[in-house]
């Protein structure tokens, strides 16, 4: 009998280990691992941590990073609240066109970002359908301001929370809510004290996914943003600008800063999730 590879935990009659693991490892290396390694090597070995900090610690870069993360947070928070509400309505309520709405929620996944970008710009620009109305009614501009970036990121992140929370609501046992009601809790109290805590871990997962997607979003934002340095210039756009100037080190430094902040945020959300799961009693 041939010796089994060290990595396998137990001998198995299942065929195809070499082939499937080979394809997995080869493609993972070529597409993800080696390119990521090159980026980090180029940044930390070729350029240096101090130089990366020197690039990031300039007003224009700082403003772009702050804008990207601030707008992504605002959009993800909106999507957190709206996503839970929408998921609740799609599971619990009955109304005409519900299936259509359910299917349409995934539109931002299916619609290319450039299409979303020019479409949102067309309606929220000062001469657009909504842009002109909002301009006359409130005297504010949506497109070419930070507000426009929020709208684009809300669009992009819309499906995440809905799709993570929806299956959890479907699984909720109505008896829990009945028990809460028989104990005298009002409907609102049941929702906030019984139902919402059950949805929290899934909602946080959706929030994290929406946030990660929004921070790096490029296609849907650049059309509506106006792209004014220090004001409406997002971090991914600044990377593109650096590349167009052939300033590869600058591009790498901003990319590494973005990765570092993203992973810190995702790690923090993961920790909150572990905490909320534990509070729920290991669901």
């Amino acid at each position: 009998m041939a010796t089994r590879p060290f990595i396998l935990k137990a001998p198995t009659p299942m065929p195809g280990w070499g082939l499937s693991f080979g394809i997995l490892l080869t493609m993972l290396s070529i597409i993800v691992l080696i390119p990521m390694g090159v980026l980090l090597w180029r940044g930390f070995v070729g350029f240096g941590a101090a130089e990366i900090w020197a690039v990031v610690n300039r007003p224009r870069v700082w403003a772009a990073l702050a804008l990207s993360f601030r707008a992504a947070l605002v959009a993800a928070l909106f999507n957190l609240v709206f996503g839970v509400l929408l998921a609740w309505i799609l599971v619990r309520y009955r109304f005409p066109g519900k299936r259509l709405i359910d299917a349409a929620v995934d539109l931002p996944f299916a619609l290319p970002t450039a299409v979303a970008g020019i479409a949102l710009t067309a309606i929220y620009a000062p001469n657009g359908v909504f842009g002109s109305v909002i301009g006359q009614a409130f005297g504010i501009r949506v497109a070419y301001t930070e507000l426009g970036i929020w709208i684009a990121l809300i669009f992009v992140g819309l499906p995440f929370v809905v799709r993570t929370v929806q299956p959890v609501i479907e699984e909720i046992d109505r008896e829990t809510e009945e028990a809460s009601a028989t104990l005298g809790a009002s409907r609102l109290r049941t929702l906030t004290h019984v139902v919402l805590p059950m949805l929290a871990p899934a909602a946080l997962t959706g929030f994290a996914l929406a946030l990660a997607r929004s921070v790096g979003e490029y296609g849907s934002v650049i059309f509506i943003a106006g792209n004014l340095p220090n004001v409406t210039e997002i971090a991914p756009l600044l990377i593109v600008i650096r590349l167009e100037e052939f300033d590869y080190d600058g591009a790498v430094a901003i990319a590494i800063a973005m990765l570092a902040i993203s992973f810190t945020l995702l790690l923090a959300i993961n920790l909150i999730q572990i905490w909320s799961r534990r509070r729920m009693g290991a669901v």
Partner: protein, 292 residues
């Protein structure tokens, strides 16, 4: 017991303790529909409205231009390369992950998901750094007449990176749930490895595979940021449909931009219809998150 109460004494309407009052329901539904109209439906309508601003003939004529034709051809060929490669990867990854127990599996799953949390622009940057003329390897590639960056191979690589987790993500949970018993039974009956896969596993995962292929294809054809960085945007050669939209838009060729956008919007529409059909008819064979 409610039917025993005399009509006059019956409360106007009995409400279940586990639903909200009708008024609240109505308000919440109206609120959601309003937000969705403003955010989702209005932009979708705007795409077609802007495309047809000067009539059907004008819009269709813009698609017939050589640059537009080249962009459509390029997008189709990139998707034709990327989707099968990622399907092969997805099947192999799901097989290795669900049919065997090995060390470091959790790490590998995390790494497969990594592209989800990386900006498309950074994804493009990765391949510029590896194969661009700024590196020795890239310079050699250009000199030997096989450039990757600012050429079609770079577009394919960047798109592969962006859509990397799509099919594996759909297959892994389904194959985990289905377990190994059916494959093991087939093996004890003497079936060969490829026969087990083709006659036992593949029929079980075909709908999940199709689901993943749909999503992967939609993203592959629509990817903008990563492709914008690696393509160099050479008209007629390395300009995909989304990049062509940007070019037309920046040149104030509004009808051409929105017509091209309409074609991609129709693709998105078809993707959604097929995806919903799969969710309704084959829910039991999809990942649990897609069952309604």
């Amino acid at each position: 017991m409610a039917h025993c109460v005399p009509l006059a004494a019956r409360p106007r309407r009995l409400r279940s303790a586990t639903t909200e009052p009708r008024v609240v329901k109505g308000v919440l539904i109206a609120l959601c529909l309003a937000v969705l109209s403003v955010l989702l439906f209005a932009p979708l309508i705007a795409v077609f409205d802007e495309a047809l601003r000067r009539g059907w003939a004008f819009a269709l004529a813009s698609l017939g231009e050589p640059d537009a034709q080249a962009a459509i051809r390029l997008t189709l060929s990139v998707a034709a390369l990327v989707v099968p490669l990622n399907a092969a990867f997805g099947i192999a990854a799901a097989w290795a992950i669900t049919k065997f127990d090995w060390r470091g599996k959790a790490w590998v799953i995390t790494l497969i998901d990594l592209p989800f949390s990386i900006s498309p622009v950074v994804a493009g940057l990765l391949f510029v750094l590896m194969f661009g003329a700024n590196s020795a390897f890239g310079a050699w590639l250009v000199a030997s007449g096989f450039p990757i960056v600012f050429a079609v191979p770079g577009i394919v690589l960047a798109t592969l990176f962006i859509t990397f987790p799509f099919i594996a993500r759909e297959l892994i949970p389904v194959m985990l749930e289905q377990g190994r018993a059916e494959e093991e039974a087939a093996l004890t009956l003497g079936a060969s490895g490829s026969r087990v896969f083709l006659t036992v596993t593949l029929p079980n995962i075909r709908w999940a595979l199709l689901y993943g292929v749909l999503l992967c294809n939609a993203r592959a054809m629509g990817e903008f940021g990563a492709v914008a960085v690696v393509s160099g945007k050479i008209r007629g050669q390395t300009t995909t449909m989304p990049l062509m939209i940007e070019m037309f838009y920046n040149e104030y060729l509004s009808v051409a931009a929105f017509t091209m956008a309409s074609v991609l919007a129709l693709l998105a529409f078809v993707t959604l219809v097929l995806k919903s059909a799969l969710e309704w008819r084959h829910a039991d064979q999809l990942a649990a998150t897609h069952r309604h």
